[in-house]
Point group: C2
Chain length 416, copies 2
């Protein structure tokens, strides 16, 4: 009696790599960053900045008033004394010096006239019958004056290469007068599914067929992160078709994602094809769901081989592929900010894999898990608000504190 099943392939027994190890290996892959382009600010939203930005000006460019009121020289103030109004300075005007012994009516954002060293809010003034201004309380030096360069000083490094161009950073760039900015053009990410059972939604299903959900799941994940998606559809389950699809993807894309066929079965052709055309670096990860994850390259183009089950595609994409893609795109940081929350349930036994449970936050602030965590399920992910991380080899009891990652940040670019 001899064992001739495919399980005799020694790789099938290859040790599981930890999630941390795989994330670290992927972060060491040489970075392919998109081409650097100059974008108008509005077109640069959420791209990775490709240059350090120094300000050429002070913001604000000159001291201005924080309120509507009256500008004065402190030396002119005396209790009970009224001062005449010598000027009216609106935002955008370039005032002359403040005439000694007078005040200037001034509005929010307007330039402080030379000589003035405080602004008094209009609410703290009285106007006399002959239109002079009486200031009730003693003003302090610099009251209601926003100094020149308060926000940004000329020469300041205001943004770093690799930061995300979030809305407020675009506002900051505008405030220093910059109309364009250099950023990394989005990488092209090819995606393909394998599986002869896969059918497109909208078509009538024959027995044995299932609809291809991974295509829409991955397309949405990639779109949300700003990548250019090259959708190569479904590849037939045979070695030749798999090889030629991968070869064509490597010629057109910066990164290739596949779903399904990454395991060791006779019907799994992805891994063999990548071995033929390039190199398989790692596969089988201690992650649940998502164990049959594979990584390699074809002529230097990285290939992530995701599992075929959509629940496992979602988790491996978010935990392994997303940080990899963001680094490849030129983003400096991809770290998720998790919350520390209590489990509203206990687990029976520790597992050898790090588990990502689909959970909601209950009214009592504790996590509730979906009753069915099968890797094949998308309905549980649709129900969930995020993922709870159950560390490998650790028994988690009710009320233990674990890390919770909300989908609201998992599904988007980080804001750092």
């Amino acid at each position: 009696m001899v064992n001739t099943s495919p399980s005799s392939d020694c790789s099938a027994k290859q040790v599981l790599q930890s999630v941390d190890k795989v994330v670290s290996l992927l972060s060491d892959v040489p970075v392919r960053k998109g081409k650097i382009r100059s974008y108008a600010l509005k077109d640069a939203l959420n791209k990775a900045l490709a240059e350090d930005i120094y300000s050429g000006i002070n913001v604000p460019p000159s001291a201005n008033s924080a309120v509507d009121g009256y500008a004065l020289r402190l030396e002119d103030w005396q209790a009970g004394l009224s001062l005449p109004v010598s000027d009216r300075i609106t935002a955008g005007a370039a005032p002359g010096p403040l005439k000694p012994g007078t005040v200037a009516r001034i509005f929010t954002g307007a330039t402080i006239p030379e000589g003035a060293d405080a602004v008094v809010m209009q609410e703290y003034t009285l106007t006399t019958e002959d239109s002079q201004i009486n200031i009730e309380q003693a003003p302090q030096r610099q009251d209601n004056i926003r100094p020149e360069g308060q926000d940004v000083a000329e020469g300041d490094l205001i943004l770093n290469k690799g930061q995300i161009l979030s809305p407020h950073r675009l506002g900051l760039l505008a405030s220093i007068g910059q109309a364009n900015v250099k950023a990394y053009a989005p990488l092209t990410v090819a995606m393909m599914s394998t599986g002869d059972e896969l059918l497109e939604p909208g078509q009538a299903a024959a027995p044995g067929q299932i609809y291809n959900s991974n295509r829409y799941l991955l397309d949405g994940l990639l779109q949300s992160l700003g990548f250019t998606v090259l959708d190569l559809g479904v590849v037939p389950d045979n070695a030749d078709a798999t090889r030629s699809a991968l070869q064509s993807a490597a010629q057109q894309a910066d990164v290739i994602l596949t779903t399904g066929g990454a395991s060791v079965g006779e019907e799994d052709h992805i891994r063999a094809a990548i071995s033929d055309l390039g190199q398989v670096d790692l596969w089988r990860v201690a992650i649940k769901p998502g164990k049959p994850f594979m990584f390699g390259n074809i002529q230097g183009v990285p290939v992530c081989g995701l599992p075929g089950n959509p629940g496992a595609v979602l988790i491996t994409f978010l935990m392994l592929v997303k940080p990899f893609l963001l680094k490849q795109q030129g983003f400096q940081s991809c770290r998720e900010q998790g919350m520390q929350l209590q489990l509203g349930f206990g687990l029976h036994k520790p597992g050898p894999r790090r588990e990502y449970l689909r959970v909601m936050v209950g009214d009592d602030g504790r996590l509730i898990r979906h009753p069915n965590q099968s890797s094949g399920m998308l309905s549980s992910a649709s129900w969930a608000q995020g993922l709870a991380i159950i560390p490998e080899h650790q028994l988690c009891k009710e009320n233990d504190v674990v890390t919770y990652l909300p989908f609201s940040s998992l599904l988007h670019l980080p804001a750092v």
Copy 2:
């Protein structure tokens, strides 16, 4: 001596409305939801679902194998007995019934043949010299079989009107065979800035002028949330121009946002123009930064009057305008999931307004605030990872726990 300054306007002393009160008032504004359109799945990403979705099918449509292995009838198993292989069932195939006294080679995702009631993983089998299969351990009923309808049962309500069409929900729709989905078309949000001091980036600044940062900040915020932006540029600081710009905006847009000019100064024309053309419902909010926030409508089109300082625009947009816009767009929930974190600093005294501090999370997990929280500053927001909420009338000491909202979720659509 009489007080004739603009501060005598009774509205200037109008009581501050709390943030909670304003959010609640805004959530009661009649909803304008975009037109309902049918979208192909890939075009529906992150839109608000406009229908309840019931599944017309079971997912999976028939029981299938969770592993690569052998399907058998339990009644045929005996320790030490080998069974011949009568079929080879790949994913996508429609097998006939399993011949009694035999096993079927079966692959992950393939349909379970009629009569089989367990699948044994190939790793737990041995192949004899005459190609029969010996199953070492006693299998249990339903081992490695994913039952029909495990993910979704025919007739199930799988998604609710108002939910966001996140990537995994698009995957779920695909899995039930749906190629199109009804969603609300994005609302058109008009934005305009007021301020004669404002200059476009890229132009040379004259004394007294500053670059318009709010335009790029707001455009980015609106783009990130999927709205159609109608950019009406800068409106000159006078009553006629303000009125005519607002009137034109009300004819083209579903909601209008303005920045600047919402206060009570002689140079602030927004409020007067809205009063003339429609109605001002509330203004002055107990929020810091952002007090001079205004809300009203022109011929039923809602107008949010944001402050002129960009730091205040960011905060009032995220805390007041965003939940309002999402509700108007048809999203069911706009609640932010905050984290409870300790302050790494203490505050000197309680304030009458709820304060949103620009903060980072330090290495010790406590919050660090930017030294300058001026409403005019965007550099502090660019530095920050999120906002810490300091409740009104509350003295916060070092190590007190407050709610922290990370920009990673604040700047995006919620995932619920």
